[in-house]
């Protein structure tokens, strides 16, 4: 018998690729030593790492990627189950740990569906093909006369039926076909894909069973907090460790010098205690003497904004793209518009704060990690703590939200360092909310100084954007997830186009925030397009459709991306306009707004209806989305992602900003970093356009068009153009 672990080893020895086609697993071990012993149960049939079938017929499917609320623990196994021809209700889903046999295991970039739709269907079909062949060889009939259905193989001509569990021994002896050689089902025969399927962890979630990072409990577990310098880049000079160690429930308190990596192990003070509360309380008594870095201008939001605004009309540090002759086109007659848009820094504020659990024993460091990117975590741990990858085991546990925060593995390396020191004792590091908010990797601030011209017919003739954002330290490199795409609209749709960029250095580490780049750029672009439509006295829908032009495919610079399909974009825009009743007359104080955006391979158009009181109180009455990401895998999950990302777009545009003062983040908890609440969440209609293109992901693309649709609706209601977020700070009064 070959266990899955051994299979993986074999697979790795064979080059680290997928197992399929490399090995043929065998069942049936050595004969029992004596005939009186009961026969050993048949081992599971595992044609590859993703499927196990027991002799009882029980099917276990492996969910390869981290689950952070985006639904992949359900949707990816659905792809396998569909082709394996097993009833969804009968399968058990098992979360994979980090293992090279599974290839890329990342929750990021809305990539899971895009990358795995075909691959996982093929893996399901591989297992089904072996089982069909096993039945055919047992019955001595051609495989082509057999078919699989509901966890069994059928031979219709003779009415024979063999449940999968009865075929394991034969199946295990047969060759496993290559994924590229198997036949996939016709989508019209799908029984699982396209349905509404609830999340596989729902029963545990609604009964409060242990699932999440902070739920991990090991015998003898200690609880720890790790205090870092409130000013990014600071180090520890000293701390009242003896006082802290004397507190009830505290086991240890010590300083870690950390590394220079601002995304890795920062310098800090660890407190290890018997309970979370003892650790939290001890943290309140901790007094650290910090060595503060010199943060000067870069440490205060007001100063940074002044510097960014002073760049208006100035040449950019980098010319990113320059089509035609923008200067000349802008100097020509015709209508000209100028505006500056400013979106603040943002925190991820996952509801489950950063945390991780680890145990260092017998030279192996084992993690139970709510991470979006475990391989990067392993690499960071190896580099920082001097371990070989084989000595770093990462179990993936459900994370209470990601939004990009958990692509970076600082909590993982923190607990790793502690576990190494506490050898033999498991430890959980948990961040208090205040720490989570003040030690995030923030969404980079974005300023767009825009200029544009309209021709005599009211069409866009020139567009210039001087984009200013923040970078870490001195280089002209934007913070993680802060850049504007080279092909960002309206590039390619206007003859004279210029995108320039200047980076203001800060000492603040930045990180990818849901729909990176797009989340701020779409707001500026789609708001300014709205301004141009009104300036041209053209209906904003007509103006946008005119800009997109005829349905065609436009090549893009990024080789990983498919061409931009203007027809799909227009289709989404037209559908959302129809669904929201675009063109309806509304009384003053009420308004409809539109926006569209393409990112992560998804084409999404959003409409918003708002009501604004004369005193400026905002009520968002309804949102609509038209979404084209190809065929839908899980209708329930897809709709949930679209609604959630739209409300995330609404919540962030309305309520949230992170500001700096003297080098530290000012926001402390949900009182000054508020999240959208249920009473303010509008009803949302989601419409999918299900073309035949290969399907793509939904974790992000509905977010970027939401803020501009909202702000355009506010303009139509009040005549007030919002050019600075969050809305909470804007004066929306009208008379």
């Amino acid at each position: 018998m070959i266990s899955r672990r051994e299979l993986i080893t074999v697979g790795l020895a064979a080059g680290g690729g997928l197992l399929i086609g490399c090995v043929t697993p065998r069942v049936g071990g050595p004969a029992p030593a004596t005939p009186v012993e009961p026969p050993a149960p048949l081992p599971d049939f595992a044609p590859h790492a993703y499927v196990r079938i027991a002799a009882t017929g029980a099917v276990t499917l492996i969910a390869k990627n981290p689950e952070v609320g985006q639904g992949v623990k359900t949707s990816l196994p659905m792809l396998i189950a569909e082709e394996l021809e097993v009833p969804w209700e009968s399968v058990t889903i098992e979360q994979a740990k980090l293992d090279p046999v599974f290839g890329r295991q990342v929750a990021g970039g809305s990539m899971a569906t895009t990358l795995h739709y075909d691959e996982l269907r093929r893996l399901g079909a591989v297992a089904r093909t072996v089982l069909v062949n096993a039945a055919a060889s047992t019955w001595k009939v051609p495989s082509s006369e057999c078919r699989a259905s509901e966890g069994a193989v059928l031979h219709d001509a003779t009415g024979r039926r063999a449940p999968y569990g009865t075929l394991l021994e034969v199946a295990a002896a047969l060759p496993v076909p290559k994924p590229s050689d198997v036949t996939l089902k016709d989508p019209k025969d799908f029984k699982i894909l396209g349905r509404r399927i609830g999340g596989v962890d729902n029963p545990k979630i609604v009964t409060g069973q242990p699932l999440f990072g902070i739920d991990q409990r090991l015998p003898g577990l200690r609880f720890a907090v790790y205090e870092k310098c409130p000013v990014f880049g600071g180090a520890v000079k000293g701390a009242n460790l003896d006082e802290v160690k004397a507190l009830p429930g505290v086991r240890e308190a010590f300083v870690l010098t950390g590394t220079q990596d601002k995304f890795g192990l920062l310098p800090g003070v660890a407190i290890v205690a018997d309970s979370t509360w003892a650790a939290f309380k001890a943290r309140r008594a901790l007094k650290v003497d910090w060595v503060l870095p010199d943060v000067k201008r870069s440490g205060t939001s007001g100063e940074l904004a002044r510097d960014a605004n002073a760049l208006r009309g100035q040449p950019p540090a980098t010319l990113v793209r320059n089509d035609g002759d923008v200067a000349k086109a802008l100097a020509r007659g015709g209508k000209k518009l100028e505006a500056s848009y400013h979106a603040p820094m943002m925190s991820h504020a996952t509801l489950e704060p950063q945390n991780c659990t680890a145990l260092f024993k017998d030279g192996v460091l084992e993690f139970w990690a709510p991470t979006q990117n475990p391989a990067a975590g392993q690499e960071l741990v190896c580099k920082t703590l001097g371990l070989a990858p084989s000595a770093v085991v990462i179990h993936l546990v459900r994370a209470g939200g990601g939004f990009g925060r958990r692509l970076l593995n600082d909590s993982l390396v923190e607990v790793g360092a502690l576990a190494q020191r506490l050898e033999g004792t498991p430890v959980q590091v948990i961040w208090e909310r205040e720490q989570d908010l003040q030690h995030d990797f923030y969404r980079p601030e974005a300023f767009h100084h825009l200029e544009a011209a309209l021709d005599a017919k009211g069409r866009l003739s020139a567009w210039k954007d001087h984009f200013v954002t923040f970078g870490l330290d001195q280089a002209q490199t934007p913070g993680n997830g802060g850049d504007v795409d080279f092909d960002e609209l309206p590039a390619r749709f206007v003859e004279h186009y210029q995108l320039g960029r200047t980076i203001l250095p800060t000492h603040v580490p930045m990180g990818w925030w849901r729909a990176p780049g797009s989340c701020t750029t779409a707001w500026a672009v789609q708001s300014f397009l709205d301004e141009l439509a009104f300036a041209a006295k053209v209906d904003p829908l007509t103006f946008r459709l005119g800009l997109l032009g005829d349905a065609r495919q436009l090549p893009v610079k990024n080789p990983r991306l498919r061409p931009y399909d203007t027809g799909r974009m227009k289709g989404a825009l037209e559908l959302v306009a129809q669904k929201c009743g675009w063109g309806r007359r509304l009384e003053r104080g009420r308004g409809l707004g539109l926006a569209f955006h393409y990112c992560h391979h998804g084409y999404v158009a959003v409409a918003a209806q708002v009501q604004v009181s004369k005193q400026g109180a905002l009520k968002v009455e309804q949102l609509w989305a038209a979404v084209d990401v190809g065929p839908i895998v899980n209708r329930s999950g897809a709709e949930n992602q679209v609604q959630g990302s739209m409300l995330d777009g609404l919540s962030s545009a309305w309520l949230q900003e992170v500001t700096l003062a003297d080098g530290r983040v000012q926001q402390v908890n949900f009182a000054d970093y508020p999240l959208l609440r249920l009473p303010d969440a509008p009803p949302i209609e989601v419409h999918f356009i299900e073309s035949n293109v290969p399907p793509t992901g939904l974790g992000e693309p509905a977010l970027p068009p939401t803020a501009p649709a909202l702000c355009n609706a506010i303009f139509s209601a009040t005549g007030q153009r919002v050019r600075q977020l969050p809305l909470l700070k804007a004066n929306l009064r009208w008379s």
Binding site: N202, R217, S275, R677, P679
Partner: protein, 155 residues
């Protein structure tokens, strides 16, 4: 350290804890009832909601010394083992959760609402649920699931 006799999900549980320890951490760290979640520690997010004699309270704000003889119900005790209340079933049927982290708190607030107001209108739902943050913003389904359960779960 002091000894506390707590009435949790219908059973008496004896724990040792400092008197200022919030009930949240007694549940999670002493009793291994990890369904009740930590989100903010200051009463702003609702993740830690439990029932105290049927009323929803923020367990992060309730020191163990203040619990006394009150009946504490946590998400683990909302329904007898192996069963679901109509509300929990509605949460499953409508697939409310995204990450799921806030949902224990959402359910405890919603259960307390339905116990007092079996057929809440939207305004009553707004009032009862406004203090439960969901970072994934599952609010449209939270609202729908409460209505669904109130209607007896009929689709």
């Amino acid at each position: 350290m002091a000894t506390w006799h707590l009435q949790i999900n219908g059973n008496e549980r004896v724990v040792e804890a400092e008197s200022d320890t919030p009930l949240l951490w007694v549940l999670r760290d002493s009793l291994q009832l990890v369904g009740t979640k930590y989100g903010c520690g200051v009463g702003l997010c609702g993740s830690c909601t439990v029932h105290l004699d049927g009323a929803p309270v923020r367990s992060c704000q309730l020191p163990v010394s203040a619990v006394g003889a009150a009946q504490v119900t946590t998400i683990e005790g909302l329904a007898p083992q192996g069963t679901l209340t109509a509300l929990q079933q509605a949460w499953v049927d409508l697939d409310v959760a995204q990450c799921g982290y806030c949902q224990a708190g959402q359910l405890m607030s919603a259960a307390a609402l339905l116990a007092k107001t079996p057929h809440p209108d939207d305004a009553a739902i707004d009032a009862a649920m406004g203090g439960n943050l969901c970072r994934c913003a599952t609010y449209t389904r939270v609202r729908a699931a409460i209505h669904h359960a109130a209607k007896g779960g009929a689709r």
